[in-house]
Subunit: 428 residues, 4 copies
């Protein structure tokens, strides 16, 4: 694994943190690194174990704070904590480093395309002081890529030195391309990513910001699904949660709520029909308990439906709606056997993703933002900040966008889910 | 208006409240009545103004508490507060009156049909002590009528003396029929209704229980719709709320949340197309604000869709899904004009109706339950307990089930909504 | 009872509401009145029953909206909903009546004393749009009276025509004095009060704004007290709640939370010592249940402590701290009998009063604010807006400040509390 | 560091997990270990780096599940998540391992002393199914040690094989003593600790259970303190939070709430008086902002007050009340300079510690409980389960009780706090 971080060159400016307020700041050295592997057995097989650069303030900076211009963009779907990230970057730039020009591009990468005509917002500590109390992003977002050249043109024109890109896979690949284009043009700009995915499916990251808020909200919907399942004879609470490729939210919500009978995730195949299929298992459960709760991640069971064939603006394949599909299939199955049952279908996605970050995520987002600013000022580029085994680290952009973290069907998490739900380990 | 209450006859038993714990209980007299009308102008036109019997404990009871059997049934859709009502009735029966046999029928009126084989639950203060912390109904509910004769057969067989029926219009009509059948058979049973409708559309009632909890939950969804509307360029947060015939939840949620651009309710017609229609007004709003929130009650705009023709188990006409209909029409309208816009559709109904009652409703439900028990013990029958202008009163069942309370399109509530949203008063 | 409302004279300006947006506004006539009494028995004894003027928009106004200057002040302790009231007044003035100059005085009546040097805030719809999401008052408050002459001087100098005063008893008496001084000086100013008391102890009012939010928050503390009482052997959760003269919050919190063993309020005397006193009853309860929850209103049991003799800035007698007093007395009592017991004392007052209004209070405050503006524009003065039996009404200031609403020790509320707690009706 | 774990001997029974439901369980081997250090620099200095035993299911067990008796005790102050831990242990024992006798001792170690006469609760999955919805501990707790011999007598008499001890430092030292006594008597019992401290001050642990819930609740109080500070001229919101020896809750609450002006923790000394002291800094801040929020951990500033000299039942020194002390000192300081200021003092400790665990802690507690049961069944003893750098591990009891984790005054957390508050790094 290539884990070394691009740098715009040796820092020439002394960090203003050295003199701030009498506190002795612990500057980080470039050779401070965090082990990728923390099991001793795996470690011993290597002389030069893989490791990640430790995040934190550097003593020498690549940019003169007084002359630095910063900018932020938020891309893709909403996720709790976006405003915390924006607020954290602006505050850190201004109050810690003395960078006073901070812009926010509107509506994702569209905001970097001049002809769309979106005026960037001027961001100041006062104007962002209370935004963490609200969900969403004050900048707005959009899906999809834009022309790399045009975006770099605008960055150049606005003399942006450090550029913070908050978004998912596609967005971060865009950030890598922007960084490459800058390098090609000989522009000295630090492009720093902050990975965003409500699904918690980013590689080499303990957790993505907003995930804890999201799954805590999801637990409320699990509770509703459970109450509905007990409210009528053979009630079936069917809950669709986020999770295109990874079922983390579904798993955690089921574990925390603990009244779930079936969890269906993209990582674990299942069949509807047949003696080992979901429907049979559900009939069995209903006969026994007179109610059931089914939690399905949006990306689960896609092979059961005809492929949509279309893609959204982000280039993601538009998935079939597994929630509505299951609702109809389950209803039909009980009707065909003349067993009274009611499916109560809940799709809380927009309610979950639009809430303000909870206190855990408030703190986590602040820390991510602080480390992103430290990295950018030190001249790190084409990289992102993440947390690995509890430590904040720097990761190359391409390393992270090359895959997705998934629930391991043999691992402890899925085992705990099976144990908690009592569902068969194989639904086929 | 006929407002006199049926009574099983003069009370023969001294209320045990007379001797309870040294507190002097204020017993209510039959001639204590609450005026229907409280505007002086309307009052002066009548010599004998309409009034309602005041609720409260009576000094003489129709039943000997020690020999009384009570039963409860909950019918129709879930609504916050059902468990509070159950808990309140059981506690009041046991601890206040000394009635020790209290049953709960399972799954609505189905639980009174012997051949379904549902065993009634035995309810005791200890077993219901914490149920108000959970949403739903511990008894379960079902929709629809059952054979009146069979139900009275079971009541007779179980020797139920006082029977509490919690449900909406159809349920209460069933209660009236049960009461009539009892009378026909010469059975001395008190049938007391507690009106339930999350839509707050019951006549002659200040508010229905659960309504405040429901609209407070709805406000959270309004917030999400608003955040989504600002999260992307020309974002449209579309929120469907409960309200088959009355738009109270939609109106109150819009007033409390106060970031809503359009409220659509069953009481006020609107058109989609045309220069004065919703779509045109929405285009105008989007052009101006770059985002909009639309709240629609489920019963609004039914004339815009083909009639479904079918009915549910309660006998209610199955409505077309105005939410999905609007989502598609709005999306198509913006697409046809090549204006980028995203509709984020939220349907939180099951999430709203399944939450536990909030403290206001905790207290209100306790009070309703207490007064229902007072009434039943005093031999009142074919009636319900409600609150009118702040006072708890007795109302004949047929009086209340003859119509629905609606939002007055000329009244203050709708005026406040128009003012708050700034929407045109006519969307056609 | 004198219930007629002072008026600055016949309206000379046509209300702009007549032409607003095509909605037909239902203007209220001066002879529309709401009955004080709604029990028929009490009514029949009078030919000319007492009634209150109905609130609502008037067709003719005393002020020309385009030339009108409005101002607001908030006084006394914090209470949920203050920001909603401010927001409602500003929005109603601007968007409904076209009044464009709206000031907010800082820090209560101090803000009207020129020499303190507080610059009034200029309030506009945009600047107050989101303030209802936060507790407290954006204007700040202070306690105590200021010189009436100096305050009228400033109102005159700033050419304030309509002045909204939000506060409790003392504050409203100040408003009456300001109104009288204006009249004396021949100044045509409408002084309109909005009664504020978190204790819900205002006469002739269904409920005061913020009360529902406050008691709902108090319920959380009741829950904590209960959990603490079960967490250790003979745990005693002791909770002090607001309520100087009236125990409404204590009563409602106990009813909603329903795990309370003793409620102590100012309206009902009790003794500590003796065979019928609180301590003995508590020992008995602890012996039986191994835990107990005691809720005490701050004004209860004052006769048990030495009088402080001092007064606060509002002129209120500084009460002894009944919470700390009980904590020590209870601890000592159990210690003296060598019974292990732990008192967990909770005083959540500042946590309760500083939260944002809940949705119910959001709506209620908006409505109060709207009616206050209607009244002021119509030239009503030395009066306040309130709600009586569900209808919004106008009341003379002096009528309301002449007494306090109290929990009736013979009434239904206190009876429900006794029933719910099982405490003896007499603790002496 | 000695990190090896005591074991009752080689497992003789095949784990029932091997055959459960077709899922392939990943059994852990004894040589799977997690590195203590994860910075590469520190690692390279050692040939045999310190590591911790990995937690998880073992293939061979020390006890025959069908004949095993389990017991649980909860000690010390309440902490969110206690019921989750109890529920998790009971469920894991019953449903996963088939251990059907599970007892809960009442009221901490007192419940193990026969002469107190507390009957242990019989715990079954059904009886604990919903307890995680409530705060506190269904078993109750107590402070302080009991006679080790008597406790082992009871364990012996009740034939308890695996014993789970949930508590803090002192409790865990007691558990070590119990384990030693068992060994001395030749009793084959597994004594497994689950460390509890709401202060998050346990060594070698990522975080203690309940901490995230606690600090999230604390954030609500920070918000109240802030609102109070703005509600009156020169308002000072003073908030005392938990933290006897470590200021983690105070630090995190300040970071998340982000409206705090001063954070005072036990790890960082400060003076009240003098030109660099707290009072002077507070005067300066008030002059500038007209309000301030001070958050103080209960163990901070103890040297400023006379020592109490007494100890509580747990053997902890009873601290002086720094909250009340500061309230009086600050009030006096402003009064002496005739500057109007109001101190609003908030002590939410019982409100914070008695809430139910939030979803994060629901999951975390379940996982801790599962791993504790795995460990006990495998015969591990005198150890505890914890999480280190994201992995669940086994730690010897004495290792953890030898010190406390503290906020590093040179570290990132405290630096972030200083940055967020803007307070001087030295208050003396």
């Amino acid at each position: 694994m290539e884990t070394s971080i691009q740098n715009l060159g040796p820092g020439q400016f002394v960090s203003p943190l050295r003199h701030s307020g009498g506190v002795e700041v612990k500057f980080r050295q470039e050779n401070e690194r965090v082990l990728f592997e923390h099991l001793t057995a795996n470690l011993s097989t290597s002389d030069n174990p893989t490791s990640f650069e430790l995040a934190g303030p550097r003593e020498y900076l690549a940019f003169d704070p007084a002359k630095t211009t910063a900018a932020i963009v938020t891309c893709g779907g909403l996720c709790p904590g976006l405003n915390d990230i924006i607020r954290g970057i602006v505050t850190q730039c201004h109050t810690r480093y003395g960078v006073t020009r901070t812009y926010g591009f509107r509506y994702g990468y569209q905001g970097l395309i001049a002809r769309y005509g979106f005026t960037p917002m001027v961001l100041r500590p006062e104007s962002v002081a209370q935004i963490h109390n609200f969900g969403g992003s004050i900048l707005g977002t959009s899906r999809g890529q834009q022309d790399i050249g045009e975006m770099v043109d605008l960055l150049e024109e606005m003399k942006v030195d450090i550029f913070f890109v908050v978004g998912g896979d596609g967005t971060l690949r865009g950030a890598a391309a922007i960084s490459a284009e800058c390098q090609k043009r000989g522009l000295r700009k630090a492009i720093v990513g902050i990975p965003k995915t409500i699904d918690n499916d980013i590689m080499f990251l303990d957790k993505s910001f907003g995930f804890e808020t999201a799954f805590a909200m999801a637990v409320q919907s699990v509770r509703s699904a459970y109450i509905e399942s007990t409210g009528s004879l053979n009630g079936i609470g069917l809950l669709k949660l986020m999770g295109r490729d990874s079922g983390f939210i579904a798993c955690y919500a089921a574990l925390a709520g603990s009244n779930v009978d079936f969890v269906l995730i993209p990582e674990v195949d299942f069949q509807l029909e047949g003696s080992g299929g979901l429907l049979e298992a559900l009939h069995y459960r209903i006969a026994k308990r007179k109610g059931a709760v089914v939690v399905v991640a949006e990306g689960a069971g896609q092979h059961l439906m005809p492929a949509s064939g279309s893609k959204d603006a982000s280039g993601n394949i538009v998935y079939g709606d597994i929630g509505l599909f299951l609702r109809d299939k389950i209803s039909a199955s009980f009707a065909s056997r003349r067993i009274p049952a009611t499916v109560k279908y809940i799709d809380p996605s927009y309610i979950i993703r639009s809430v303000p970050a909870n206190p855990q995520d408030n703190v986590y987002c602040s820390q991510l933002a602080q480390h992103a600013v430290h990295a950018a000022m030190a001249g790190k580029t084409s990289m992102l900040v993440g947390r690995w085994h509890g430590a904040f680290v720097h990761l190359p952009l391409e390393m992270v966008t090359n895959g997705r973290r998934k629930v391991d069907p043999q691992g402890e998490l899925w085992n705990s889910v099976l144990e908690s739900t009592g569902q068969p380990s194989r639904l086929y």
